[in-house]
Symmetry: C2
Subunit: 195 residues, 2 copies
């Protein structure tokens, strides 16, 4: 790899999460040898996304407009607000087809080791959104990891202090699984939360 343009491309590809120097070389080789049209498409998409994608004024997710498609939809249930970590989590919930309220997208999670506390996460924005309008219940759908649980705990305190009903996604046995192969902590939670 001795050409400067090629080196620059490999360096730039390493900015992608999970891409090391070997993967970056493989990607650069593939694009230049087999898919130059794809490389140009990617360059254009990056440019347009950087210039065009901003945060929704109400729910903070990525959008091309001032308000995202979900926040612009007046037919949803304004009494429910679901808090998720990322747009991908929001998309997963939407695909279930079983939630009709609005969302608030944190764009991250509390992570003390990375110096991200409640204020860096923009908890104030969530508090403002949750106390405006008709929100009655806030559903915390952050991940069931240590950091997601910490985020849910911190947000829940602030929301309860403002008189809101706060719920969390149920923990339990995943659909389609045999008990024998489910981890013990999950079974213990499912037992406590039995209904």
């Amino acid at each position: 790899m001795t050409t400067s343009h090629l080196d620059a491309l490999v360096d730039a590809l390493r900015k992608l999460p999970g891409v090391g120097v070997k993967s970056a070389q493989r990607m650069a080789f593939h694009l230049l040898q087999h898919d130059r049209a794809g490389a140009q498409q990617l360059a254009r998409a990056l440019d347009e996304a950087v210039r065009g994608v901003r945060h929704c004024a109400r729910c903070h997710t990525f959008t091309d407009q001032a308000l995202c498609a979900i926040c612009s939809d007046t037919h949803r249930d304004a009494r429910q607000l679901c808090v998720v970590e990322t747009p991908a989590d929001q998309a997963a919930l939407e695909r279930t087809g079983s939630y009709r309220g609005y969302y608030y997208v944190l764009m991250g999670r509390i992570s003390p080791l990375d110096g991200i506390g409640a204020s860096a996460l923009g908890a104030a924005g969530l508090m403002a959104r949750a106390t405006e309008g008709d929100v009655e219940e806030v559903i915390l759908a952050t991940s069931f990891t240590a950091e997601g649980e910490a985020t849910a705990h911190v947000l829940s305190e602030g929301l309860k202090a403002r008189g809101l009903k706060v719920t969390r996604l149920a923990r339990g046995v995943p659909a389609g699984s045999e008990l024998e192969y489910v981890d013990l902590s999950t079974i213990a939670h499912a037992l406590v939360d039995r209904r």
Copy 2:
């Protein structure tokens, strides 16, 4: 993921080898949320590489110039020509510091299942390069996979027919390994090729 710019970016990222829809979403989220400068740098690098990177007229590797840096270097040994599959393989050989001849980069390998035969691989270019000038020995440094071995076999026939000395990288026990943990086929080859 409801914005069109974001969807276009996720689609474009999936053009990268080894990147599925989940990775592409993660990459798009990372770039837009945490590294917009990196996204712009990648867009620029892609653009410049697509416009600026071409094939070296002598060895067929990627270069910004008509001739690559190695082919332009007149202090190398013109009697040796080393045939590799990709620029990455060439870079690995260069890093050893133990080869001073020139290269020919195939930019692929013979792969009947993908419809890539000797002609699609540009074997004619190699034959022309190997018979011009002072080349005495052609070192086949294709991979030791089924496809790499087939490539070496086919090229070797053509080169020998043109009166050239053809050699292959030695197969044997990797440096630093204990015999107990080396696979049997490697040990068998090392035994045959003992010196």
